[in-house]
């Protein structure tokens, strides 16, 4: 962070000295961005720059500034309409839309930041041209400039469009939702008919308070605990299951390895919204699994050993806490193991065979070789990706939502916060937005989820992009 600011300061200083030492063209480009290029006979580039400047300023003034000026209040004029029964027509006042103000405001700010960066870069570039001319260096023609996008500036060619996509689909929405966490955007403050406004950190305070009626604090702790337990268990079970299955299929005595693998892989091929909804129906209170269990006596057996009450008419696979948690983990094994098996197969094929051979000669049993050689090797290789998949499981929306979207809780405190025992943070926030229009609390939960993921990622962060590891492989 510190580094970042130091760099900006240096950049500003460079810019300042450029203006001080620059000639008339450099000084002119303070006002009109393309001028410096005209001075060096780069007419086309100059025209492009001017067009860019005019375009940015025009769009800012005509579209964004009116919204940005209202950012501090998020709008004050509520929508009103007057209906004229005689003409059956309606006039609507010029109302504010808090949502658009926030959205346009964010985009406007981003444009301004980008423009300032471009502006400073422009002055520096123009000054560099001046220096080059003084020293008799070669000044690129427009064609040569274009060619450089295939070589020195190839990264710009490659990254510009994907980066714009990321900014539109990722950066702007994320900034927007972060802002929502500090507003009162909820059921009773929904634009366009009503306004919402800034409320500071009130929503965060709410998440950590607890009373009989306000149960967000309690609910948050419960949901967070299950989210973490789920993430670790889901990752561990599918990982171990995957390796065992891969090991089993890869065994020298197994025939038709490809066939077995294909049989398991088929389950990945069917979209989760089909398989999970189907499995959810199968395990319903009155679903086919319950019918079968009742017919073959499993239901009575569970009653007999005290797992179920005598009065129970079905096994609550997905409708009671405890039962539902176990079922979800089991179904997740069903979903996740084939995928992990594919991963493990690939890794096991690359395992150094000499180690296993020498272990064999030393008289180690198969079990020992597996735990002492195979597992450590696999763990060593997949360690960082394991933490990644824990993070993915924290955000595993599909499995939980598709299996339990009809789950009803019996815990009043959870019910009062619109959550249930099997909710992850992510499904809770989805429910809050989709069913209860409670955007502000959903955003707060989203930010907390992000912080948890980020903290976990720090563990793998250095290994993935830090240091010079990537060069070492080559």
């Amino acid at each position: 962070m510190k580094n970042f600011f130091r760099k900006r300061a240096v950049s500003l200083k460079e810019c300042g000295s450029a203006v001080k030492n620059g000639d008339i063209w450099v000084k002119l480009s303070l006002l009109i961005m393309g001028m410096g290029y005209f001075g060096r006979k780069q007419i086309l580039k100059g025209i492009l720059m001017i067009l860019l400047e005019v375009g940015v300023i025009a769009s800012l003034v005509s579209v964004f500034l009116p919204y940005m000026s209202k950012l501090s209040t998020l709008g004050t004029v509520q929508r009103e309409m007057i209906f004229d029964p005689l003409t059956m027509s309606e006039t609507v006042n010029d109302y504010d839309n808090s949502l658009l103000i926030l959205l346009y405001g964010i985009i406007g700010i981003l444009i301004i930041i980008a423009f300032i960066a471009l502006y400073i870069g422009n002055i520096k570039a123009v000054y560099r041209l001046q220096e080059m001319k003084k020293n008799g260096g070669h000044i690129n023609s427009f064609k040569e400039d274009l060619m450089s996008f295939k070589n020195d500036k190839f990264h710009i060619t490659l990254l510009t469009i994907p980066a714009i996509g990321v900014i539109i689909i990722n950066v702007i929405p994320i900034l927007f939702m972060i802002c929502i966490a500090f507003t009162n955007y909820d059921e009773t403050h929904q634009p366009p008919a009503y306004l919402f406004t800034w409320v500071g950190i009130k929503n965060f305070v709410r998440l950590f308070t607890n009373s009989q009626t306000l149960t967000f604090g309690y609910t948050f702790v419960r949901v967070l605990a299950w989210t973490l337990i789920w993430a670790v268990l889901a990752t561990a079970t599918t990982f171990i299951g995957g390796i065992l299955l891969a090991q089993f299929i890869n065994h020298e005595h197994t025939m038709a390895k490809g066939l077995w693998r294909t049989l398991f892989v088929i389950t990945i091929g069917i979209p989760q919204f089909v398989t999970l909804l189907l499995v959810g129906k199968m395990f319903g209170d009155y679903g086919i699994v319950n019918t079968i269990c009742e017919n073959v006596g499993i239901l009575d057996f569970f009653k007999h050993i005290g797992l179920l009450k005598q009065s129970a008419g079905y096994i609550p696979f997905l409708s009671q806490p405890g039962w539902a948690h176990v079922t979800i983990i089991l179904v997740n094994i069903w979903v996740g193991v084939p995928y992990q098996m594919l991963v493990a197969t690939g890794i096991l094929m690359n395992i150094p065979s000499d180690q296993i051979e020498s272990a064999k000669i030393d008289g180690a049993t198969k079990f020992q070789t597996f735990w002492k050689i195979t597992m450590p090797y696999v763990l060593f290789i997949t360690g960082p990706s394991l933490i990644q998949s824990v993070i993915q499981n924290i955000n595993n929306f599909n499995v939980i939502y598709l299996l339990t979207h009809t789950y009803k809780t019996t815990n009043m405190a959870l019910a009062n916060s619109n959550a249930n025992e099997v909710d992850l943070l992510i499904t809770w926030l989805f429910r809050l937005t989709n069913e209860y229009s409670n955007f502000k609390m959903a955003s707060v939960i989203g930010i907390i989820t992000f912080l948890i993921s980020a903290a976990l990622s720090l563990l793998t962060f250095s290994r993935m992009i830090g240091g010079d590891k990537e060069e070492v492989y080559r």
Binding site: N97, A193, A415
Partner: protein
């Protein structure tokens, strides 16, 4: 924003020219301001429609959302065609979208500006729609007057804070008991105790969805408990009283019978088709399914009584209504209002009744309608109350119902449930 302003300007100028054009012909017509109240006679309605037709240019796009069932879609399509035929000079493009009625408000509130111009919704969603400013107040009527043609009970639930928002559409969205008269006698369906006993004997299934606040209310209401809504949309609830506890205990006793099932709609239909269910609490939306399953034995009755400390209590219910609403962001508000009126008029209600079996709210249409289901509903209506309840009721009530099903009835449970139901509105936000 700018675009909106321009179009608003455009509409008002267009309206103004139309107005001037008409003014030349009919000099005696009063100028704006208070002229369009409901007390106005038929003449001005015709003028208004003439004004509207004159000011309409190009195609009128209207989107209509209603139930996704095939019968509904078909009859609504027919009615829309009839509407188009009524105004041959205007070029309409009416599209009909299928949205489950239970989700109607959620789908509209996702983005009211993109939602349907005209939509059919059940009365319990009105409050949320008004709160979000998504539904248009009916400030004037043109082809009929709600308070003249519709039954009184159906008008009030379509209003909020004294303003009318919904055009009454059907009056049969409540619940009652379907049963198979070839297996059960009228005495059997008179009380839950007799019903479960008989079903146990037959090895068949009966019940109602206990883990659902909508149905659960009927039980507690029948036992004399109350649930009311305050002005701030929080609730008042006395289910943790002695009477409430007794009601919960009697419910737990009934549900503990082997034959009692608390099915959601899809499980109910699956088991009904399998011939397992002989009596169940449901509504007109399932009328065809029950009629098919029971054949000649198809019958319906008011809800059974239940026993509290030796005293038979009549199970209550919510009466439900459906309304046609106009989106307050509708682009062609005039035409949308006319279409909403058309879809809820007598002729349309008769057509809908014939297609779906849902009972009309229109007095004249109601006189023509008669079926076992509607008769049962009429009988039950003496014990039914209007659904006026704040949003914080549903989740705690659902949990309460589930707890009762599991047999965990205690004073503590009811206290917790009531605390949840009564929680201040802002707290849960």
């Amino acid at each position: 924003m700018k675009k909106k302003l321009v179009s608003a300007l455009l509409i008002s100028t267009m309206a103004l020219t139309a107005f001037v054009g008409c003014g030349e012909k009919k000099e005696e017509k009063p100028a704006e301001g208070g002229s369009g109240t409901e007390s106005q006679g038929e003449v001005s309605s015709e003028d208004a429609i003439a004004n509207l037709i004159a000011s309409t240019e190009g195609t009128v796009d209207i989107e209509l959302w209603c139930s996704e069932t095939e019968a509904y879609q078909k009859v609504m399509k027919e009615r829309c065609d009839a509407f188009e035929a009524q105004y041959p000079d205007v070029d309409f493009n009416i599209t009909i979208g299928s949205v489950s009625e239970a989700d109607m408000k959620d789908k509209i509130l996702e983005d009211p500006e993109k939602a349907a111009d005209v939509f059919v919704f059940p009365d319990d969603q009105l409050e949320a729609l008004v709160k979000a400013g998504a539904i248009n107040e009916i400030q004037a009527q043109y082809t009929y007057k709600i308070d003249e043609v519709d039954t009184e009970t159906t008008i009030e639930p379509g209003s909020y804070d004294g303003k009318q928002y919904g055009y009454p559409f059907t009056a049969s969205n409540g619940y009652f008991l379907y049963y198979d008269s070839s297996a059960l006698s009228e005495e059997d369906v008179a009380s839950w105790e007799a019903l479960t006993a008989k079903a146990d004997e037959l090895g068949k299934q009966v019940g109602f969805e206990v883990a659902n606040g909508w149905y659960l209310y009927g039980w507690f209401a029948g036992a004399g408990c109350s649930l009311t809504e305050n002005a701030d949309m929080s609730n008042n609830c006395d289910w943790n009283s002695e009477a409430g506890l007794a009601a919960a205990e009697s419910l737990a006793k009934v549900t503990s019978a082997k034959s009692f099932k608390s099915y959601g709609n899809d499980d109910l239909l699956a088991n009904l088709n399998d011939g397992k269910v002989v009596a169940y609490v449901s509504g007109t939306w399932n009328v065809n399914a029950f009629a098919d399953a029971y054949g000649d034995g198809y019958a319906a009755a008011k809800l059974p009584t239940f026993d509290v400390n030796g005293e038979a209590k009549q199970m209550g219910s919510y009466c439900g209504y459906k309304y046609v609403g106009v989106n307050s962001f509708a682009a062609n508000k005039g035409w949308s209002m006319l279409l909403a009126e058309f879809l809820s008029n007598e002729e349309s209600q008769v057509a809908v009744y014939k297609a779906t079996g849902e009972g009309p709210s229109n007095k004249a249409a109601l006189a023509e309608a008669s079926s076992p289901a509607l008769d049962a509903l009429a009988e039950q209506s003496y014990y039914a109350t209007l659904q006026r309840v704040g949003g914080n009721y549903w989740t705690p009530a659902e949990s309460l119902g589930k707890n009762i099903l599991e047999g965990n009835v205690s004073q503590q449970l009811l206290d917790d449930a009531v605390a949840g139901i009564e929680q201040p509105v802002d707290a849960a936000q």
